[in-house]
């Protein structure tokens, strides 16, 4: 670049429809920033991740999954018994939480009153995947992928799964209007 003062605001000869142009040099900060962004290219390939390219998206992803696993060892949900789940029905706070979880996640397919819509009726005695409290808990937690029932333990905390199980148990026998016909066997032990 030539000396700044020498070039400052020197008009060029040419003119277009009255428009003139100065022979000013490019601003230094502009030029040097441009050079810096060009220099960034080789640097990016040379520097390690996270400043540079690293090993690529998939490798980064796999590393992040491994790191998350290491930081958060597989949690085994505490086992619950039939008795505990039945007992939870007596806890109003738990039932209220179960109702909230149910309305957000379950009502879409099982209807708000549990009468069944896309998913089966939850208010009758018939249970496709077993009607004991722990069996229902298991169905909710693990899901039935083939039928579109998601594994809720991945979304809900263990106590939420318990609470919604308790709430579902409380729906049995409520006889809502226009229920879906019973599906699956009724428990052998009867009601």
């Amino acid at each position: 670049m030539a000396d700044k003062s020498q070039h400052e605001d020197k008009l060029l000869e040419h003119e277009y429809d009255g428009i003139r142009e100065y022979d000013n040099p490019m601003p230094r900060w502009w030029l040097w920033t441009f050079y810096a962004t060009i220099l960034f290219v080789p640097l990016y390939y040379l520097l390690p991740h996270p400043f540079g390219e690293g090993d690529g998206n998939v490798a980064e992803y796999e590393a992040s999954v491994a790191a998350a696993r290491a930081a958060m060892p597989e949690q085994v949900a505490p086992t619950v018994t039939d008795e505990q789940l039945v007992a939870l029905q007596g806890d109003r706070a738990v039932l209220a939480e179960g109702k909230a979880v149910y309305e957000t996640n379950c009502a879409a397919c099982h209807r708000a009153d549990g009468g069944g819509l896309i998913g089966p009726n939850l208010t009758d005695d018939a249970w496709i995947h077993g009607g004991s409290p722990t069996q229902i808990h298991h169905t909710i937690a693990v899901g039935v992928l083939a039928k579109g029932m998601p594994p809720w333990e991945r979304l809900l905390r263990p106590e939420q799964v318990n609470a919604v199980t308790a709430y579902v148990l409380s729906l049995v026998g409520t006889n809502p209007p226009n229920p879906k016909p019973p599906e699956g066997p009724a428990p052998a032990t009867g009601t």
Partner: protein, 730 residues
């Protein structure tokens, strides 16, 4: 030197026509934007009418603003300035008028076909093939007219504004033609020549450079004419013009892949997209620097002159969005911003600020000259300026916060290692207050535009009975060029290079100049296109990936017709929160039969790449009938018309045949696609009845769409495919 002098006049009638088209289509495009903004704030504004739904109108808004509003603004300014900068009338008044009426006819065709659902599903290239051909024809007519004008010029050298017009005209033609190559499957239906990863690459090579060569370079051309004219000041730096022009033209082309970070596009392309975007920062800012520094010594005029106010804020908005662009192209920033409203905010800084305000300023400057009457009210122009600026501020502030909020919610984990917001709709609900603020901001901008239209209309009313046509005199160019002010040629190669004498020579040889532009654009394009198409390892084959069945294919076409891709992506990125939320990340080999690709660019609803098998068929049926019956607070409109309309089974064969032409191995479906489709439709219908749904669905459009959705993401779970991630969340 010849003493002969030509006397001629400029064609301002064509400029007036384009000016009115700019104003009218501007209002239409802005109002379409307001309507779809309302639809996001409350789905009631979809009115339960298929052709007014968000998925159909969103492309209408973008096309109207880009090609109708900004397009006509470019033509207004280019037709006015080109004639004056080259000291000649346009090459052909007939071509000028063909260009004008042809372009308006294309816009009308777009305004009719897009709401009807005729779309290629490629952003800003939605228009179907007959309209694409019309665009090519009209564009070529414009090019002939423009280059013919250059050939007849009476000014030896071409000014920087003309450089930018040349780059725009040439590059838009190349982009348009190569991105729209497709095989027709009917009068208003076609399939992209490219599939999956390659189609995505071509689309964003086009899409990004449509931003560059339709919304940036032509407007820089306008700025280089109207800014010094309005400020009555010389341009700050000729050398800066040269460097930032050529670096923009060359570097922009490479940057397209930054729209596809973390997708199934190969890493090397994504990285090039990022690095070239970063290098683009200063070339883009070169325009801002030259624009703003042209005002040196004239800043006092800005306080009195609304035209300059519009220009200053427009150029500032340009500077902000061209800083933000490189920033968003950095992969780690993009991981947060992609699919969110951040991108929407970014483009509106550009469109409302840079394109909109520059256009308003230009029209305020032109109106008194074109209508030969003083501007009706300078005061109203000031009011417009303040309302529009405030409207933009409200709009972008709201939508930036919406984008960042949602991006952070998507990636948040709680202390148990579960997604903090597993319910997608919850993250949408958070945005509602911001969506309403956007509606207010957009409304203010439109109020400003109405004041603008009124002001120009009143100016026009005060026009003389007949326009005066001033005659201009200029000597024709002598056959041989003689440099009357030969600059000394400095010694030394570097000094010779920086003295820019070589460039001065190019400026008097427009053919050479144009060839150099073509070389820059083509070399940069091929550097990425050739490896994308030729390197096989870019798209590793997955044996279990099969073509869509005929029913799924027509279902996919319904997905395209309804514009589902405007709200739903089909691309799970290899990011932990995405695989937790949606399932196994998407592989390049999964899309080899996707003509066109449907990865999407915004997640207003959840990703659908792995939706297959997640819900029962009946769930989908009920969801299409009334989304909120299953998903409380969903903002998706209902699609009852899909349940009511009969599916055109007989039309499926033509679709399959077109796919076969593209090399998709269809096997026996080549002969009996409708029968195969009917059989599969009956299965879906039976499953719906079995689940407790209504009978008779097997003949309706909805079964095809359900069949398609149930297929999505399933192929790699078959034997021979890639093992699925251990239990993804629903």
């Amino acid at each position: 030197m010849s003493t002969h002098v030509d006397t001629f006049s400029y064609d301002d009638a064509i400029v007036r026509k384009f000016l009115w088209a700019t104003i009218i289509w501007g209002l239409v495009g802005f109002l379409a934007g307001l309507l779809i903004a309302l639809q996001l704030a409350n789905p009631i504004f979809n009115f339960d009418i298929s052709w007014l739904s968000f998925g159909r109108l969103r492309p209408l808004h973008t096309n109207a603003v880009i090609f109708a509003f900004a397009g006509n603004a470019i033509f207004t300014g280019a037709y006015y300035s080109t004639q004056r900068l080259l000291k000649t009338r346009m090459f052909s008044d007939g071509l000028s008028n063909f260009h004008f009426w042809g372009w308006q006819a294309i816009i009308v065709a777009a305004a009719i076909t897009l709401p009807l659902g005729f779309t290629q599903a490629k952003e800003y290239a939605e228009l179907e093939w007959p309209i694409d051909i019309a665009i090519a024809v009209v564009w070529v007519a414009f090019a002939i007219n423009f280059f013919g004008t250059i050939a007849r010029r009476r000014e030896r050298h071409i000014y920087v504004a003309i450089w930018f017009y040349i780059a725009s005209i040439i590059t838009v033609a190349i982009l348009h033609i190569f991105n729209n190559l497709s095989v027709p499957a009917g009068l208003f239906k076609s399939y992209s020549l490219y599939a999956g990863v390659q189609d995505a690459f071509m689309q964003w090579w086009y899409g990004h450079n449509a931003v560059a060569f339709f919304l940036t370079t032509p407007f820089l051309g306008l700025m280089y004419y109207f800014m010094p004219k309005a400020a009555e000041r010389p341009v700050f730096s000729y050398k800066l013009s040269i460097l930032h022009f050529w670096t923009i033209v060359f570097l922009y082309i490479w940057a397209g892949p930054h729209h596809l970070h973390y997708t199934a596009l190969p890493d090397w392309a994504s990285t090039l997209g990022m690095l070239f975007s970063v290098m683009l920062w200063m070339p883009s800012w070169g325009g801002m620097v030259n624009g703003l520094l042209t005002l040196r010594g004239a800043w006092h005029k800005v306080t009195e002159e609304p035209v300059l106010k519009f220009f200053v804020v427009a150029i500032t908005a340009y500077g902000m969005s061209t800083f933000e662009g490189p920033m968003l192209s950095v992969k780690s920033v993009n991981a947060l911003a992609h699919y969110t409203d951040w991108i929407i905010a970014h483009v509106h800084t550009g469109a409302l600020g840079w394109n909109g305000l520059l256009t308003f300023g230009m029209v305020y400057w032109l109106a008194p000259r074109l209508f030969q009457a003083p501007l009706h009210s300078k005061k109203l122009a000031e009011v417009h300026f303040w309302i529009a600026s405030f409207g933009i501020l409200l709009y972008v502030a709201a939508i930036y916060s919406a984008g960042i909020t949602q991006g952070l919610m998507w990636r948040a984990f709680d202390e148990t290692g579960r997604l903090a917001y597993p319910d997608f709709v919850e993250t949408v609900m958070q945005l509602m207050p911001m969506y309403w603020v956007r509606v207010v901001g957009g409304t203010l901008y439109i109020v400003g535009a109405c004041i603008f239209a009124y002001n120009i209309f009143r100016t026009w009313q005060a026009r003389p009975k007949t326009y005066e046509v001033p005659m201009v005199s200029a000597p024709p160019l002598p056959a041989v060029y003689v440099d009357e002010h030969p600059a000394p040629v400095p010694a030394g190669a570097i000094a010779r290079f920086t003295s820019a004498g070589w460039h001065r020579r190019w400026e008097r040889l427009p053919t050479l100049f144009t060839v150099m532009v073509v070389v820059a654009v083509v070399v940069a394009s091929l550097a990425e296109i050739i490896p994308t198409f030729l390197i096989k390892s870019n798209v590793p084959t997955i044996a279990s990936v099969r073509p869509y069945t005929p029913l799924e294919l027509v279902g996919r076409d319904l997905y395209i017709r309804e514009g589902c891709f405007n709200c739903h992506s089909q691309m799970v990125r290899p990011l932990r929160h995405e695989t937790e939320r949606f399932g196994e990340y998407s592989k390049p080999g999964e899309f080899v039969y996707d003509h066109p690709f449907l990865w999407g660019s915004r997640r207003i609803g959840p990703d659908l790449a792995r939706v297959g098998g997640k819900y029962p068929d009946l769930w989908h049926l009920r969801h299409f009938e009334e989304p909120t019956s299953l998903v409380q607070n969903s903002i998706m409109p209902g699609y009852r018309h899909l349940v009511e309309r009969e599916l055109d089974f007989d039309g499926i064969q033509a679709r399959v045949d077109a796919m076969v032409m593209l090399g998709v191995p269809y096997g026996e479906a080549v002969r009996n696609a409708p029968e195969l489709a009917r059989a599969q439709a009956n299965d879906v219908g039976a499953r719906i009845v079995e689940g407790g749904g209504q009978a008779g669905m097997e003949t309706r459009e909805v079964v095809a769409l359900i069949a398609y959705l149930q297929r999505l993401g399933k192929d790699i779970q078959q034997a021979g495919g890639v093992a699925a991630a251990p239990g993804a969340t629903p």
